[in-house]
């Protein structure tokens, strides 16, 4: 390693005192006065080690209550670890539960000033950046209104605008992408893309594995306060997903309903020349051509995401046009076409859903999905979903 890591955590542990009864506070105070550790504690994190190097964004994934937010708070220094230590280098910007920390009675402008100071920006720099912040937040005259009159989306806009202006070396975010309207989310994602391309580093908590894989190179999976896995983002997130599916087996998953036509939508999916929405029958080992037409309201070419899903919901395989760097074929009028061919389908016989999704032009947000049922026919005595290329070795090999 040439440069020291931006974040270095060693043996981090966080235990919260139990405060069930009235007397607990008194005894906790007494412990503090005497400089002793609290006696009754709940352990949230135990023995967490990790490093974040410049340019190697790290995602923290895990179920609710796994300790992800606590970990971020330890890194930002808001919380003090019960054991171990965490060191950060360079400027750190944090968006924890976005916009919180704004004072409801004060105007947006006053809050921006406080927030900028908290991010280490001095008055002169802030004065120079104020127009940029105003433009990014784009909340118009509300900037001079008390924050308590804001919608939650406006609070988010303002919070993100401040961080965008600060442009820290390390950005710590907690589910930022889950809030704000579509337009603003896209703006945030474009900014994040640009920030990462410019050498920024992200420490991200998200339940959206898509964002995790898109924005980060490494992932840390927290399970019940301990590190279950850390390493390459795809490897870790797949292990996480597998564990999740094992847990949720049997739970029915309702398909997402599309109320209004979204920004990017799937117009039609034709499979082997069969249009409509009905099931398609193909023989195992045959050629399958998925012919997809996507619509874009803003005229930019959407990214297409293909997916094979077993009838019970088990994902089999997925690939996007952005991963393979394939451009859309413009049909005019905001319509775009992708054609994807599987020359020799290696799926084993059974019922599958062939999925086509429309993503925004950056390939970050999923807007619409259309499934076609595909029955793969044939005879096979093998187990599983896919026939893997294989051969048996002879005695002399």
């Amino acid at each position: 390693m040439t440069a020291p890591p931006l974040v270095e955590a060693v043996g981090l542990a966080k235990r919260y005192p139990v405060l069930g009864h009235r007397g607990d506070r008194v005894s906790a105070l007494w412990d503090v006065v005497r400089g002793r550790r609290p006696r009754r504690v709940v352990s949230v994190l135990e023995g967490v080690d990790f490093e974040v190097h410049a340019g190697q964004s790290l995602a923290i994934i895990g179920e609710n209550g796994a300790g992800k937010s606590t970990l971020l708070k330890l890194v930002t220094g808001v919380l003090t670890p019960s054991e171990g230590h965490v060191r950060t280098r360079g400027t750190v910007g944090a968006l924890l539960e976005l916009g919180a920390g704004f004072h409801p009675e004060l105007s947006g402008r006053d809050n921006v000033r406080l927030s900028a100071a908290l991010h280490g920006m001095d008055a002169a720099t802030l004065a120079a950046k104020m127009p940029e912040i105003e433009a990014f937040a784009d909340i118009g005259g509300y900037l001079d209104e008390p924050v308590k009159h804001y919608s939650s989306g406006m609070v988010v806009r303002l919070g993100f605008a401040v961080v965008a202006a600060v442009r820290p070396a390390l950005l710590i975010t907690d589910e930022v992408l889950a809030v704000g309207d579509e337009g603003f989310q896209r703006k945030c994602i474009r900014w994040l893309d640009d920030y990462l391309a410019g050498g920024g580093t992200l420490l991200l908590v998200s339940h959206s594995l898509y964002h995790v894989q898109k924005l980060c190179r490494r992932a840390l999976w927290l399970h019940e306060g301990r590190v279950a896995a850390v390493g390459d983002v795809f490897e870790v997130s797949q292990r996480y997903l597998a564990a999740q599916e094992a847990r949720q087996k049997g739970e029915a998953v309702a398909p997402p309903s599309v109320a209004a036509r979204p920004e990017y939508s799937v117009e039609s999916v034709t499979v082997n020349g069969v249009a409509g929405e009905g099931a398609v029958v193909v023989a195992a080992g045959d050629r399958v051509v998925q012919d997809v037409v996507l619509c874009s309201r803003d005229g930019r070419a959407p990214v297409m995401l293909n997916g094979w899903v077993r009838a019970d919901g088990t994902p089999v395989y997925g690939v996007s046009s952005e991963m393979d760097g394939v451009p859309a074929q413009a049909l005019g009028g905001g319509r775009f076409r992708y054609r994807l061919c599987f020359d020799a389908l290696s799926l084993l016989p059974g019922s599958y859903r062939l999925r086509a999704s429309a993503l925004d032009a950056e390939g970050l947000r999923l807007f619409d999905t259309l499934d076609r049922e595909v029955s793969v026919t044939g005879q096979a005595r093998e187990y599983g979903l896919v026939r893997l290329p294989h051969r048996w070795l002879g005695a002399d090999e």
Binding site: P17, L29, K73, V78, E105, D110, L114, M121
Partner: protein, 256 residues
């Protein structure tokens, strides 16, 4: 995170000041109006309603009262507001890493600034209305006020941390300050008390600085050793408060 501490302090201070009269019709004008109003009430009550004279002094009773009341209020208001400085900022403390004492200090600074401005205004009005204040006593009075300020800071820091653990503190403090008001020679002159009581009263470290402010401005010399002793107590309290803050640092967020 390395916040620009000075800028954060300035913003917190601005916030404290703006918050105070936010939404009121007269806004910042209250800063001037309130002390004048208080002084007018004192002058009317003790000048007309129940005329009183300060014991042995040259000052009208209202002026005597004012010279004790504002220094006391400097302490009482700062302590009373400072108690909840950490609990009121819980949302912010949970999101950004800033030295906790900054929240308390900003609140104390705002409170002290307002009360100092009020006191200056009151002194000006007293002078203008012909009360014979001793201007050469100003430096001694300022020194005594500074001692009161250190007491206020120490009390606020200590109480704010305690309040995080025990929310009863703020309730109790209101009453304790009322008691403290009567145990400090504001309404009366200590020389009027029986000798034994007067001696015991000096246990209250605020007695000397409050008396010094009034004494210096009415032409008496300051009791410097006694003032230094009070300062020593204040400094010790401040050290204690800082030690307590440091020790509680890693636990505060858990209780907010």
């Amino acid at each position: 995170m390395v916040p620009a501490t000075r800028a954060v302090f300035r913003e917190l201070l601005r916030r404290e000041l703006e918050e105070r009269y936010r939404g009121s019709l007269l806004g910042a004008a209250w800063l001037l109006l309130l002390p004048l109003l208080q002084l007018a009430v004192l002058a009317w009550v003790f000048g007309h309603l129940m005329p009183a004279r300060a014991h042995g002094g040259e000052l009208p009773y209202a002026a005597f009262l004012a010279l004790g009341l504002w220094p006391w209020n400097l302490f009482a208001n700062a302590a009373n507001r400072g108690v909840t400085a950490l609990t009121d900022n819980a949302a912010l403390i949970g999101k950004v890493a800033v030295p906790h004492s900054l929240y308390v200090d900003a609140r104390v600074a705002a409170s002290v600034a307002v009360d100092l401005a009020g006191f200056a205004l009151v002194l000006a009005v007293l002078l203008a209305s012909g009360v014979a204040l001793s201007l050469p006593g100003l430096p001694a009075a300022a020194a005594a006020l500074a001692v009161v300020g250190v007491h206020a800071l120490a009390a606020a820091r200590l109480l704010a941390v305690l309040q995080v653990f025990l929310r009863d503190i703020a309730t109790v403090i209101g009453q304790l300050l009322v008691l403290g008001f009567f145990l400090t020679p504001i309404l009366y002159d200590r020389s009027l008390l029986p000798a034994a009581a007067a001696k015991w009263l000096a246990v209250n470290p605020l007695v000397v600085p409050v008396e010094t402010v009034r004494g210096a401005l009415s032409g008496q010399g300051a009791d410097w050793p006694a003032l230094a002793a009070s300062l020593a107590v204040a400094a010790a309290l401040l050290l204690l408060a800082n030690g307590f803050l440091r020790r509680a640092r890693s636990h505060l967020e858990d209780f907010l």
